[in-house]
């Protein structure tokens, strides 16, 4: 099995390992704080840090309070929620499908959520966040279910590229169906085209906050199943011998990925590559143990998304480049680098 990682340490040494691994957590934590500050301070109008702090308390220049206190706080909170959700979903999908290039975007989970939203938008003209989330979750669940069914079958077993192709094709089917709906309804197209690029400003913070619950549940699920997933990296048979029930683990992962991706997609649109890059980079630094990678991804993923969002504000120079576009522009070349960097045959 070409992509299988070295067996993770299961017993006592893991505690020691986690102790040794404190440094990455510290670095990721500092990076997260820095990213949040950048996200609050930088934009069409740069604001000094002391002013940022004041405006968060509601003190100071009214305009600054308006920009920082509401708009930028809003998108920063959205970025934190979506970053965590997408990063964890990516880790889970890569672990379960044993596919180092799995990503909720590429495997069609985001397309499923998007399809759900389009169906919702066309069925009910004024669909609030409360309604959108249910449609997005249903779509994400459908897509994740199909993809996981595919990934467990012999058909794609051991071939990341076949699974990726299946995901791309499945996304295409869903996208085609979405297009057909969107094209027959100009109002739906108008809201959909903004939502589709992936933007942290798509929804006000009042809509975002109630959805945190979904992400929290998804996160807890992810952290709870990490040890079992670790053992499943050894193969189903070994995992069963170690007391893991692969079927149950798959179901829980499916649930977690659905909650995470559905929420992120409902909030910010389909954003790809965060779920691909974060686990990839983390594996290089700390190795394959999911009990370390998952909590670390919790800190690191929002960093990537927030920095991408800040980049979009800066390079757009007024005409802001949405964060989904920026992550695609960063992630595409990196995917090519990952693919070219591997020796031929490794991915087949």
């Amino acid at each position: 099995m070409p992509t299988r990682q070295a067996p993770p340490p299961i017993l006592a040494e893991s505690a020691q390992r986690i102790g040794r691994g404190a440094l990455p957590f510290v670095i990721a934590g500092i990076a997260l704080v820095a990213a949040v500050i950048l996200s609050l301070a930088i934009g069409a109008r740069a604001v000094a840090i002391d002013e940022v702090a004041l405006s968060l308390l509601g003190i100071g220049d009214e305009n600054v309070v308006g920009i920082v206190g509401t708009l930028r706080v809003n998108r920063t909170i959205n970025g934190l929620i979506c970053g965590v959700a997408l990063g964890l979903a990516g880790v889970l999908m890569q672990a379960l499908t044993r596919n180092p290039i799995a990503d909720p975007g590429m495997l069609g989970v985001n397309a499923g959520a998007a399809f759900g939203v389009v169906v919702g938008l066309s069925a009910f003209a004024a669909l609030g966040a409360g309604g959108t989330i249910w449609f997005a979750l249903a779509g994400a669940a459908l897509a994740a279910g199909v993809i996981f069914a595919f990934s467990t079958s012999r058909v794609v077993a051991g071939s990341p590229v076949r699974l990726t192709l299946a995901g791309v094709a499945f996304s295409a089917v869903l996208a085609g169906a979405s297009q057909a709906i969107v094209l027959s309804n100009e109002t739906v197209l108008d809201s959909f085209r903004f939502w589709r690029v992936g933007s942290l400003t798509a929804r006000p913070v009042e809509d975002a906050l109630p959805l945190i619950g979904f992400v929290v549940v998804g996160t807890i699920l992810a952290l709870l199943i990490a040890p079992s997933l670790n053992m499943m990296a050894l193969g189903d048979d070994s995992a069963i011998a170690l007391g893991v029930r692969p079927g149950a683990v798959r179901l829980l992962v499916l649930l977690a990925v659905t909650l995470l991706c559905g929420t992120a997609t409902a909030l910010a649109g389909p954003i790809s590559f965060v779920g691909l890059l974060v686990p990839h980079l983390l594996r290089r630094v700390v190795g394959p143990d999911l009990r370390i990678i998952l909590p670390l991804a919790l800190l690191a993923s929002p960093v990537l998304l927030l920095v991408a969002d800040v980049c979009g504000r800066v390079i757009g120079n007024g005409a802001e480049v949405q964060v989904g576009v920026v992550t695609a522009l960063i992630g595409g070349p990196l995917l090519i680098a990952i693919v070219s960097g591997r020796r031929r045959g490794v991915l087949s």
Partner: protein, 357 residues
């Protein structure tokens, strides 16, 4: 290596029982495959029947007698003449030509990469065309005709980038496909960004174009595609034997005296031009390039550009008819091909995987 490579079939298929040779007294000879010849004949007949159906069907149904009269130049009334000759015939011919261009390009890609899952749309050439067209249409504010030029440039640029990035690994295998997927994600991100920056009316126009549509295609759209197909066909006839031998692997091909690098370049350029013209004419129609060669191969049991072209022409013509008449409101043909083609692709993956497992 990828297990998607076709197994090396005994040379019977290169020169075997099924081969027949026609010779003239002056020394010209034409080698053909009997089963392929039969299949091509049947396909051509079916395509002709479909064309007749496309000319007759619609809100204004034309009777067979009226159709024959119209085609003979004696239309019963101006309305029939307008619908048949002015609207339906050019549209159907554009569909057939574009379908054929895409199918042949797909057959070339699949043969060259020895990967039945590779096709111009999977490896991102069509997305490149989409970016080119959208940039011309919405940023440079060009006409739809000028967008066609942008599409051609975009397709060629992406193809060039793919070749540069994957030439070293021999243009086949996983790297090509994944690189293509990455490129098309980048391309579509740019498209989405541009779409989000314009007025909704322009976005709708561009979006319809992006799905791939034959709406309003007329005689003037037919000519460039037809010219491209006509120019490239002789090259394909000339190189098809080489292509068939190269499908057995470079070692065998070189041993049999094929100059593989040159043949590969020629075929690659031909395929890119065909896609560029097709996308410029009808937008990035998905999956025809992928599906048509498969259907053709399962009918003829051997790779054939002619059979692929005919299947491609039929697929797009049928898709357009379905898109026009099967739904409450007419859809672009690309919406049908992407949904049905994606499903077919999944089924194909499934079947290929089972035979492999």
């Amino acid at each position: 290596m990828t297990t998607t490579e076709r197994p090396i079939v005994a040379p019977r298929h290169v020169l075997g029982d099924e081969q027949r040779v026609l010779r003239t007294r002056r020394g010209w000879s034409l080698r053909y495959h009997r089963r392929t010849a039969i299949v091509v004949g049947v396909l051509a007949l079916a395509l002709a029947l479909l064309l007749v159906a496309a000319l007759m069907l619609g809100d204004y149904v034309v009777s067979p007698a009226a159709l024959i009269d119209t085609l003979r130049g004696q239309a019963p009334d101006r309305r029939t003449e307008f619908f048949v000759l002015g609207r339906r015939l050019p549209r159907a011919l554009v569909a057939m030509t574009v379908g054929a261009c895409l199918a042949v390009a797909g057959a070339i890609f699949q043969g060259l990469t020895r990967n039945p899952l590779a096709s111009p749309d999977v490896v991102g050439v069509s997305s490149g065309a989409a970016v080119g067209a959208v940039l011309v249409m919405l940023v440079l504010e060009g006409s739809v005709d000028q967008a066609a030029i942008g599409a051609a440039v975009g397709a060629i640029v992406v193809a060039a980038v793919i070749v540069l990035l994957t030439w070293r690994s021999g243009l086949h295998g996983v790297q090509l496909i994944l690189t293509g997927i990455a490129l098309s994600v980048i391309a579509m991100a740019i498209v989405d960004y541009v779409l989000s920056q314009v007025f909704v009316a322009s976005a709708t126009t561009a979006q319809t174009w992006l799905v791939g549509s034959l709406q309003g295609r007329s005689w003037s759209d037919l000519i460039p595609a037809l010219i491209a197909l006509a120019l490239i066909t002789p090259l394909l006839i000339w190189k098809s034997a080489d292509a068939r031998v190269m499908a057995l692997g470079d070692g065998i091909a070189i041993g049999l005296g094929v100059r593989t690098t040159r043949a590969r370049w020629l075929l690659l350029v031909a395929a890119t031009l065909l896609v560029a013209v097709a996308v410029a004419t009808a937008g990035p129609i998905s999956f025809v390039a992928l599906v048509a060669p498969h259907i053709a191969r399962s009918l003829t049991k051997t790779p054939s550009f002619a059979a692929s072209a005919l299947v491609g022409a039929m697929l797009l013509l049928v898709s357009d008819l379905i898109a026009l008449y099967a739904f409450p409101a007419p859809l672009p043909a690309g919406a049908v091909t992407i949904t049905a083609g994606g499903a077919f692709f999944l089924w194909l993956l499934w079947r290929e995987g089972r035979t492999r497992a």
